[in-house]
Amino acid sequence: MQGKKINKENLKKFFAEITSQYTVIAPMKKGDKDFIYGETDTFEDVCLEYPTTITPIKKYLLPYKEKMFSFERGKMREEIPEEKLALFGLHICDINAIARLDMVLWNDPAYKARRENMLIIGVSCTPNDKCFCKSVHANVLPNICDVFLMQHEKDYIAYSHTEKGRKLLNSFLFEHTNIEIKEIKVEYNEQKHIDIHRVGERILKDYENPVWAETAKRCLGCANCTVVCPLCYCYDVVDNTYVHTDEGERVRCWDSCLLLNFARVAGGHNFRKDLKARYRNVYTHKFRTFVDEFGVPSCVGCGRCITFCPAGIDMRETLGKLGGA
């Protein structure tokens, strides 16, 4: 891939060009030390050097709450989103998260509509002590990235994997360079490397490993980890009626297999009543079920679940005890 150079001044102009066509979602500061993905049309709000955001990018692909259907006097109307989003400044792990969500949700009408209208602009990152994207094979930029900005001294070198992106790079804002790159990936020494293949092989056989009970004792079952996870996509579906009319809506919202009633059926039987079983389910799904279905784990090693666990549970430690160390 041939790189093109863009300086900070021109990047601001490029950003403005994008805001004229898209609603832009970008990393920005929240409070003193935290970062989130949020909507902005101001380049000064955007922070391209950030550790990781609290909010996962899935929020803009599979919103926390979204209307699937409207009901009106006995008619059902499907709701398909029309928004055009540009995700500006994503790290490689989050772009991999989108690539993996694509595998699950490409035939989901709302998801697909959003994705087809979407522009993805990535940016290079500096891994921290919680990152383990290499372990879960999420350190290589997937080919869904339209433009990738790699920091180069004071400027950025831009690459593109898509037709949409190559058109953007034709803009006069980008200068020709002789810099070429074969593959864009993050290289670093992981603090803890996990043998994910070994975990997947053993996880169903190792069902009574003491790590489940031990960790479940500390786990609060709050589902914080699954909320911040860019890949936890499970959802609940609820119908609402508007009190004053005969209209209503079917809404899909985020759910979590860590919550008590997730595997409850009508009549009250709960197939995963114990927190131990629910905690284990997060891992069996991420490192086995998803691998069986799609060939990769549903984890990109972003470290959010580690950073934001109120009980201080480190997924890497659990995986280590499951044979991944």
């Binding site: 059902m76 499907e78 989901d108 996509y233 959802y235 079917r250 297999c257 039987h269 079920t289 069986d292």
Partner: protein, 273 residues
């Protein structure tokens, strides 16, 4: 693109009372083909959507029957509806009973409570194609005589196969006898009454979660191999298409890989049974 979650409108043709909390709803379903053991997602707009197994058999054309117990929001609302009312369905979903691979074999059905709903589809299918199968036995257990479903078919089933019924109790809630003269005891007590060896038969089970391991033990004690046993499992399939994760049992989806599973495939699967 076809919206995978979009149900289509149909109407309730008739409703039949079964027990105090269970009714059979006949829904218009033209050009709708399915196999016994499969389910549909039923929508009542504004109330919700619920997975319901199909209790009619594929040779009954033009409609499907859903046998529904009143236990949740959707089923509660459905029970308040009347013939002519409109509901929405999508499906059929899941994998049903494997009839192609068990041609010529004896079959032993074990149904507990509302577990009769999916099994009835299979039983009536097999009885319709009787020449293609061996001897058929149906063991059916319910809590009380008042909880027995499809009583109007008992006579026919008794004529066409070995049909044995048992109830957990023959007493009314106040302890007085309720006039039941048949077998009393859990469904597994009926195994001793099957008049022929069942070790070469196919077993098919559906019932409350607690029932499976006892029934499977009986099958295995009879000499039946694990891969001759089929179980229909209950979970809350919210999407029906393998996405929402509510019916996931480790690396299996009840909505895609089931609800009917070969026991040999799930016996090592934690949490399945």
């Amino acid at each position: 693109m076809e919206n995978i979650y979009k149900p289509w409108e149909t109407k309730i043709m008739s409703i039949e009372d079964m027990t105090c909390d269970t009714k059979v709803f006949r829904l218009e379903a033209k050009k709708f083909s399915y196999m016994p053991g499969q389910f549909v997602e039923l929508t009542i707009p504004g109330v919700g959507e619920a997975p319901i197994s199909i209790t009619s058999a594929p040779h009954e054309k033009g409609y499907i029957d859903l046998c529904v117990r009143r236990v949740g929001n959707v089923t509660e609302a459905l029970h308040r509806m009347k013939a002519g009312d409109r509901v929405w369905i999508r499906g059929p979903y899941g994998v049903g009973f494997p009839f192609e691979s068990i041609k010529g074999r004896d079959i032993v059905y074990v149904a507990g409570g509302i577990g009769m709903a999916p099994l009835r589809s299979s039983i009536n299918y097999v009885l319709k194609h009787k020449s293609e199968f061996g001897k058929i036995t149906v063991l059916y257990g319910a809590r009380t005589p008042g909880d027995l479903l499809f009583k109007n078919e008992f006579e026919r089933w008794a004529k066409e196969c070995t049909f044995l019924v048992s109830v957990d109790t023959d007493k009314n809630p106040d302890g007085t006898p309720c006039g039941w003269t048949g077998n009393v005891g859990v469904v597994t007590t009926l195994f001793d009454k099957i008049p022929y060896p069942i070790k070469d038969a196919i077993g098919m089970v559906c019932g409350p979660p607690v029932m499976y391991k006892f029934v499977i033990k009986k099958f295995r004690d009879s000499g039946m191999p694990d891969n001759a046993i089929y179980v229909s499992l209950e979970r809350h399939m919210k999407c029906g298409v393998g996405k929402c994760q509510h019916c996931q049992i480790n690396n299996k989806y009840v909505c895609l890989d089931g609800p009917v599973f070969n026991y040999a495939e799930v016996k090592e699967l934690p949490e399945a049974i």
